[in-house]
Amino acid sequence: MSVWVYSESEGISDEVASAALDISEPTSAGPSVIDIGQVRDGTHSAGDKLVLKGPPSTEPPPQVAAEAIFRAAKELRPASILIGATRNGREVASRLAAKLRVGCLSDAFKVSCDGQNLFAERNVYAGKVVAMVTCPLPSIATVKVGAYPRLGSTPKETREVDVGQIDSQVRVLRREKKVVGSVDLKSARVIVSAGRGVKKREDLAMLADLAKEMQGALGCSRPLSSDLGWLPEEHHIGLTGVTVKPDLYLAVGISGQLQHVAGMKDSKIVAAINTDKDAPIFQASDYGIVGDLYQVIPAIRRAFTSRG
């Protein structure tokens, strides 16, 4: 069964390729990883590579990517197309579904196939419930970022398809990097995570220092990266951010709404510090301290550095 894989991000493309192995039969050629414009060196594939020639850019706008994949799909008819569930990736997948008039499953952390239907496991209702969803083939799914390991092998074959010139209806004026993060939350063993209980941006330093002392990384709740812009978007943990599974997750001034817990519930040990004894985060914690983070965090740093 032919499965296509696409993400505008090379690393995520490798993750989606390993998801594709779950649905393409082991004997077949394996998934085809799509590159648009030209071959990207960084992307790997267990099968072959499909290069769509025509659109000039290696990082085409989602509208252009969707049209390019659509044109190739009309000709080559893949059974399934898997796309990384980034913000732009969701647009590519949705547009493709609307063009091809096929269903699209979203945010799958596990995909499977019975030869007739595509299946996906995903979070719904803010992560309170896991749903198994399905759609008859041919169909599309987006794959949750971080759900699958990155696959790395050299492609067997490179195929080219000319899809012609494609224009975007919106014009990109400029793109600016947000605050740049330096840590990889997915591989961190300890995550110190900051929430709205932190009063000022400068106070994050105290938490970053603790994270560093514990050889860990600093994460946050969505309001800190989105509304306040204190940390990069990819540092926010939860339904709309990253999913993490560290040995220790230390939630500091985080209320523990369902959408946040959805991203850290598989941590080995969860500890929380919150002034509100009724904060829902304590329901999702192994250890809890009811107290002011401005007193408790310095005390934890003292206790940690002087531990026996």
């Binding site: 980034t86 913000r87 647009e91 309170k128 004026l173 500890a271 192994d286 408790v296």
Partner: protein, 255 residues
Amino acid sequence: MRFAVCVKHAIDETELRIDSSGKPQLDGAAGKMSTFDKNAVEEALRLRSAQSGEVVAFTVGGPDARKTLKEALAMGADRGVIISADLLATDTLRTAELLAAAITKTGPYDVILCSEGSSDTYDGQVPPMLGELLGLPYAGYSRKIEVVGGSAKIERSLEDSVEAVESSLPLVASVVSEINEPRYPTLIQIMQSSMKPVEELNGEQLVQQGTHKQSSVVSMVAQTSSRKHVMIEGSPDEAASKLVEALVKEGVLPK
């Protein structure tokens, strides 16, 4: 100028009950306006006050979805359109088809707004599908929208960057929650909202079933978690020492 805003009557995750077998009780489950759709309504109202004109709220859903439409009207939308459908049996593409048909039927509109994703299913699919089906320019994850003359300047919030884009009108956009602070309707506005016009469209008649094979749910099971729930007491220093000691015992702190 005319603004369309799409609001979903979403299942309220905080009220959702789980039965003894671990299944969510969706029949008769409480609903609410999808959280970020309030930001979409707010943005439509903000654009209307700068441009003058009309804001029309659209919802696809069952009879209950009227509540969400009424909330949009109470916030300040001028009119509402409800397109009848059973949301549990309507996938994102069919929802987008119904919205596109209703928007075309009652249009034209200059700006069509959605949120980045609904609070119950968070698919993030309906808005780009709507852009595609209507054949209009689309800007997803907008954190700032400026309409000047016949065009719009938009800041899109991506994972690691902010992208400034420009587009002609009409345009479809989805907004992120940080774009604005949604207003709370006053009591008087809530009362007056019953007097605003609501048009009802029959979904089955609007778009025939069977344009595609819909996606559907096979099964659902509630998440369970087992945590120790140990509350540590004492002064900050005492509590901190006990916590560090416990974490060392758990073997989760570096040596």
